[in-house]
Symmetry: C2
Subunit: 415 residues, 2 copies
C-alpha cells in the first residue's frame, strides 16, 4: 500500500490557558481531568458494570430521585434530550412545548422530527411563564407529553417547575424536562416536583466535559418505553420478547434497549463510552462531596457578586431578575461598543472566554457563566477586572475598580 505522498502532521495538544466563563463548556474539575486518563476496562468487566451501577446511585442523588432508571446517554446534552423524546413520543402524539429561549425551540424541533403534533407556547426571551399560562395550556390542549427546558442558557432564565408536574399527573400527560443548564448548580428536584423524565449534560454546573448526558426516567416513562421494546435481530435471545407498541425510530437512542444494557440483563447495545463514564462518575462525586446545598449557595453567591460588579460598572443586566439561573448572567453590550471585539480581546489578551448569544439576543447581550470549578471569587474578580480594562480600551468608561469593589463587597456581605 502506498502512503500518502505528503503526510500532514500536527503538534502535541497544547491549548492556551483559558478561563471559561461562557455558557459552557467550562473549566473541568482537576479530579475529572485526571479521571479521564484512567485506562479502559472491558464493558462487561465486573468492575466496569460495578462502575455503571455506582453511576446510577450517584446520579439518583444528583437528580434527587429514587428513579431506578438513572443512567448516561453516550452523546452530548442534546443526545439525552433526543433519547427521551424519541423513546417517549409515538408519532401522532400531541406534545406541548412552552418556549422561553433557544432550547425550547430545540425541543419543539426534536418533537416534530419524532412525528409529534406539537403545540407551542411562547414568551419573550428574558422572561418565564406564569405557572397558570402553562397549566391552562395543558388543560386546553390535553397533550400526551409536555416538554420543556428548566434553565435556558440562551436567556439565562430558569422556569419554576414545581407547579407543572402535579398538573401533568392530574391530566395524564408525561413531563419531560431538559435540566442541562441547571443541574448541579440550581435545585432540580425530580421526585418532589413530579418530573417524569429529565436529562442534562456535564459541561455546565457539573463542571465536566461535554459528551455525556445524565438521564433519569420514572416508572411511568419506563412502562411506556418498555411497551415499545424491539430487540436487535443480531443479539435477540430466548427470554427477550418484543413488545406490541410501535418501534422507537432510533436504535442508538432506544431507551428500552439502553435499559437492558444498564439493567441486570446486560444485553449489549452500544459499547459504553468508558472515559465519559469515568468523568461522569467523578463529577458526581465532587458535586456530592461539596454537598448539593453548598454548591447551590456557592453558585448563588458568585452570581450575586458578578451582578453587583457589572451593575457598579454601569452595565445593565438582562432579563427578569426574579428568575435568573444561579450560574449564568446576561448583560447588555453597551451602545457603541462592538461586542465581538470586546469578547475577542478578553480571550486573546486576558485568556477569558465569555459568551455571545443567539437569535433575538444576538449582538445585544453577553452571557457570563459562573459554573462549577470556575465559580470562585478569584475568577469573578479576574473577569470583572479584565472586562473593565477592555471596555475602557473600547471607549466605555467605568469608575476604576468599581466592579471588583462591588463584587468583593457582595462576597463580604455573605461571609
Amino acid at each position: 500500500m502506498s502512503q500518502a505522498s505528503s503526510p500532514t502532521r500536527f503538534a502535541d495538544l497544547n491549548p492556551p490557558a483559558r478561563l471559561l466563563m461562557g455558557p459552557g463548556p467550562v473549566d473541568v474539575y482537576p479530579g475529572v481531568l485526571r479521571a479521564m486518563s484512567t485506562p479502559m476496562l472491558g464493558q462487561f468487566d465486573p468492575q466496569f458494570t460495578a462502575y455503571m451501577n455506582e453511576v446510577m446511585v450517584l446520579y439518583r442523588q444528583i437528580f434527587r430521585t429514587e428513579n431506578h432508571w438513572t443512567l448516561l446517554i453516550d452523546g452530548t446534552a442534546r443526545a439525552g434530550i433526543e433519547a427521551c423524546l424519541t423513546s417517549m413520543i409515538v408519532p401522532g402524539d400531541k406534545v406541548l412545548v412552552p418556549i422561553f429561549g433557544r432550547f425550547g425551540h430545540l425541543l419543539m424541533e426534536i418533537c416534530q422530527r419524532c412525528g409529534a403534533d406539537v403545540v407551542t407556547l411562547e414568551t419573550d426571551w428574558g422572561t418565564v411563564f406564569e405557572p397558570d399560562q402553562i397549566t391552562d395550556a395543558i388543560k386546553i390542549n390535553a397533550p400526551n407529553l409536555v416538554a420543556m427546558v428548566h434553565g435556558d442558557t440562551s436567556t439565562t432564565m430558569a422556569q419554576p417547575l414545581y407547579e407543572i408536574g402535579p398538573i401533568c399527573r392530574e391530566t395524564g400527560a408525561l413531563l419531560y424536562v431538559d435540566a442541562t443548564a441547571t443541574l448541579g448548580g440550581n435545585p432540580v428536584e425530580v421526585d418532589s416536583w413530579k418530573l417524569d423524565a429529565v436529562t442534562a449534560g456535564l459541561q455546565k454546573c457539573m463542571s465536566g466535559p461535554p459528551g455525556c448526558a445524565p438521564t433519569t426516567i420514572n416508572e411511568r416513562v419506563a412502562e411506556r418505553v418498555k411497551s415499545r421494546k424491539h430487540i436487535e435481530a443480531g443479539i435477540r435471545q430466548d427470554g427477550f420478547e418484543n413488545a406490541a407498541g410501535p418501534r422507537i425510530q432510533s436504535n442508538y437512542f432506544d431507551l428500552a434497549m439502553l435499559m437492558d444494557y444498564w439493567g441486570p440483563a446486560r444485553l449489549n447495545h452500544h459499547t459504553e463510552a468508558t472515559t465519559m463514564l469515568y468523568a461522569a462518575r467523578e463529577c458526581a462525586r465532587i458535586v456530592l462531596d461539596e454537598g448539593l446545598a453548598n454548591g447551590f449557595a456557592r453558585h448563588r453567591q458568585a452570581s450575586r457578586a458578578i451582578r453587583s460588579g457589572l451593575d457598579a460598572m454601569g452595565l445593565r443586566l438582562f432579563g427578569d431578575a426574579d428568575h435568573r439561573m444561579a450560574n449564568v448572567t446576561g448583560v447588555f453590550i453597551p451602545p457603541a461598543v462592538d461586542g465581538d471585539k470586546v469578547r475577542g480581546e478578553l480571550l486573546q489578551d486576558f485568556g477569558i472566554e465569555i459568551g455571545t448569544s443567539f437569535g433575538p439576543l444576538h449582538g445585544k447581550i453577553w452571557r457570563i457563566g459562573t459554573m462549577g470549578h470556575v465559580c470562585r471569587k478569584s475568577n469573578i474578580l479576574r473577569c470583572l477586572n479584565a472586562l473593565e480594562a477592555v471596555l475602557r480600551r473600547n471607549g466605555f468608561e467605568s469608575p476604576p475598580n468599581a466592579g471588583i469593589d462591588a463584587a468583593d463587597e457582595a462576597y463580604e456581605s455573605e461571609a
Copy 2:
C-alpha cells in the same frame, strides 16, 4: 434544601490492571490517555476550531480519502452508523443490506427504523460474500443505498469491498460502509474503493476510547444530505435557508447541521465533545506516525502469531481463513470446556480479557483481539501462556509451551 439522609459515596477510580484482548474496547495508547486529561477549550475558541480542522485533515489520511466532510460524530461507533443512515435514507428508499454477522443485522435494523424498504442477503457466520452475489443483488433490486459492514467483529470476517463500489456507481446506488472494526488495522481505501460514506469508532485498531465515531462522506452523499437541510428555529439566521427535501428524522444525527457546525459557517449544533476530540486527534497522530502500512503489517504479524500458537495448542480456528480481519481471531471452545469459566479465570487470575460471542456463535467460539496498543509480541505470548495454563486446569491439555513456541517462531519467520 435538605440533603439526602444517608449519602452514598464511592472510592476513587482504581480499576484493576487489565490486558484487553477482546473484540474492543482495547487498551488505549498512553499518549491518548494523557491527551484526555487536557483542559477544555470553548467550542468556538480559535484554537478549538483549529483542532477540529486538524482532525478533518488527520482522518482524511486515515480513511485514505480526499472527502472534505471527514469529521467526528459525538457518540459511540453506532452513533456514526445511525448519523449516516438516517441522513442518507429517505423513508421508502430501497436499501440492500448484505449480512454476514451481527453488525449486518444492526445495519438492517437501523435502516428499517429510518423507514427504508430493506432487502437483505445473508451468508453463514464465518463466511463472506462472493462479489458476484452482491453485485447480482444490486442489479436485481436496484437499491437507492447499499449498507454493509467491512469487518464484522462478531464473526472476525472482513468482506472485500473494492468490487462493490464500482457497481454502485454504475447503478446509481449510494454505498455506506461500517469500518468500525477494521479502520487503522486493515486497509480501508475509501476513495479507491469508491465508498460513499464510511464510519468507524476509536475503540478497535485506533486504540482509543469508545465514544467517538470518525465519519467521512463524499460529495454524492453531501449533496443528498444538503437537499434535506432544515436548520433549527432557535438559531436560524439570514442566509441559511431550508432545503426542499424531507427533514432528517433525527436532530442529533442530522449531517446537514453537522456540516454547518464543522464548516466555515460554524453554526452551533451540539457542543463538541472536547475530550473525545482530543482523543480522536491523538489516536490519528499515533497511527499516522507509525505509518498505515506499518500498522497493518504489525496487525497481520500478530494475528499470524496468535493463530499459529492456538493451532499448535490443538485449538481449531473459526471461519474462512482467507477473509479474517488482521485484528481479531475466532477460536472454537474445545468440547467439554466451559467457555465462560475459562474467560473468567483468564480475567480474574491473569488480568486478561478475551471475548465471548453473539447469536449463532454464542458459547461456541472465543474471540481474541490483537488491536492497536495491545498488538505486540509480549501480549501475544502472555495471552497464549495464560490460556494454556487455564485450559489445562479445565481439563484441556496441550503440549507445554507449544502455543508460545509457535507464536515465537511465527514472529521470527517474519523478522
